[in-house]
């Protein structure tokens, strides 16, 4: 009887069909610390060169078929890495994170993800932390410092701490990089960004004298503007159901943006 019982329990727990809760935070080992692994790959494989080419996309939420086609299209393009600008999921449930990564891992280049407001739903923030890592993180490559920031202020009831402007200012201070690129889900000029921190955000970027692009998602439509008339370009990628992504080239203090429809 006992071996039978043990084998029964083994089958139960071994079978992935058994779900404890949609909001369970259960991430297999090979799907953990994905951002750190991507940064490792970026550092190891991208040579020293003048121009870095990024693919900007985001809002993959519930557009799995379109994301799958995006990967096919993006794989034909010679870019250094991909930035997923938040709203990985629609409902913040464990399975959705897994579904999106199972598509994105087919990319032939590393991808980095930043958290979106939908990802905070349920226990999504815990799943994101386990799967991708810190909500705010950065790395330096070829003189460019890439800074990823949680700007989903409304999800934290506009508590004044999201985005963490102190951390952002720290990140943009220092002489170990020449140019800064900031990426987050909600753009500062949107209602879901803490209005008390909007000016602080724009000011930190401006005063660093090192940033000329701020990258975002959330609005589900492409825009490329200078809302603060300070020479800093705010680039917003579309949701994946629009079947469009952006190619961003960075060199010195210059950049170019190209729209790709697929």
């Amino acid at each position: 009887m006992r071996p039978l019982l043990f084998s029964f329990i083994f089958i139960l727990t071994g079978c992935s069909l058994f779900e404890y809760h949609p909001y369970e935070v259960i991430v297999p080992d090979d799907e953990q610390d994905l951002n750190a692994k991507a940064i490792q790959a970026i550092q190891a494989t991208i040579p020293q060169k003048d121009t870095l080419t990024l693919i900007l996309m985001g809002d993959t939420q519930r557009f799995y078929d379109d994301v799958d086609d995006f990967v096919t299209s993006a794989n034909t393009y010679a870019a250094d890495f991909v930035v997923l600008n938040g709203d990985i999921t629609d409902f913040g449930i464990n399975d959705e994170f897994h579904w999106v990564h199972s598509i994105m891992k087919k990319l032939n280049k590393p991808y980095l993800a930043v958290i979106g407001n939908h990802d905070v739903s349920g226990n999504g923030e815990l799943v994101f932390e386990k799967m991708y890592g810190s909500l705010n993180y950065s790395f330096i490559k070829n003189g460019f410092k890439f800074i990823f920031l949680n700007t989903n202020s409304r999800e934290y009831r506009f508590n004044g701490h999201v985005p963490d402007t102190t951390w952002l200012k720290d990140q943009l201070t220092g002489d170990d990089f020449s140019h800064g690129v900031v990426s987050s889900h909600v753009p500062p000029f949107d209602n879901d960004f803490d209005p008390a921190l909007e000016n602080a955000y724009a000011r930190i970027l401006r005063h660093s004298n090192k940033v000329n692009v701020s990258l975002h998602g959330h609005l589900h439509s492409y825009s490329n503007s200078q809302p603060y008339d300070d020479g800093i370009q705010y680039i917003v990628s579309t949701s994946m159901d629009q079947r469009m992504y952006l190619i961003l080239k960075l060199w010195d203090d210059k950049f170019s943006v190209k729209e790709v429809y697929y």
Binding site: C15, D65, I93
Partner: protein, 202 residues
């Protein structure tokens, strides 16, 4: 969250206590018809999208062709990454019955639906006041599930036990699948649970 753990421990203890009392009863004594609110069965379930383990009470309805179960489910942080407690109201129809010997009945197909409510302020049932109307259309706390499954009932000398399983999905996974039949398969959105039911007054 400690409180939820205690609540679950109480539910399990109650399950064991009532089971042992019923097992100890002299089955030859004439039994009065139980009050309507006394459950027909006690349930213990593994997984099924409502907790790691769930305990509850079951009522047979419509001449034993269906049942209603109320379950309290708990998922501990050590297993699920966060302590999660749910209350579930489940309706199961038993449309097909096969007798397999004197003491065994097989229900090859069961179909049903359940509503689960996830407890705690973290999981809002209504959109909180600091969101504009219609910002999110779904509730974090309430999930609606549909399922199919199977069940076996066996009568031992003094009592009746049932073992069942369910495979189903919830409304959020279903809408994800319906809009993405190219990438997602039905298997991606299914989840399963299994459990036992113990009859109190066989």
């Amino acid at each position: 969250m400690k409180k939820n753990y205690k609540l679950f421990a109480i539910a399990i203890a109650l399950f064991c206590f009532v089971t042992s009392i019923t097992l100890a009863q002299d089955s030859t004594a004439a039994k009065p018809r139980p009050k309507w609110y006394i459950p027909d069965a006690l349930d213990l379930q593994y997984a099924g999208s409502i907790g790691f383990l769930s305990a509850g009470a079951g009522y047979d309805i419509i001449h034993k062709k269906a049942s209603i179960d109320i379950l309290f489910g708990y998922l501990p942080r050590a297993i699920g990454g966060n302590d999660i407690s749910t209350i579930t109201l489940k309706f199961t129809a038993l449309p097909w019955k096969i007798r397999a010997g004197d003491n065994t009945t097989i229900y090859p197909v069961t179909v049903g639906t359940f509503f689960s409510y996830t407890m705690g302020e973290k999981y809002s049932s209504d959109l909180p006041s600091w969101y504009p109307d219609g910002y999110y259309w779904w509730s974090e706390a309430v999930r609606v599930n549909i399922f199919v499954g199977g069940k076996v009932r066996h009568k031992f000398s003094k009592n009746i036990w049932e073992a069942y399983y369910e495979v189903g999905t919830n409304e959020l996974k279903l809408v994800s699948y319906v809009q993405n039949t190219g990438y997602l398969t039905v298997w991606d959105i299914l989840h399963a649970g299994a459990g036992v039911r113990f009859y109190l007054n066989p």
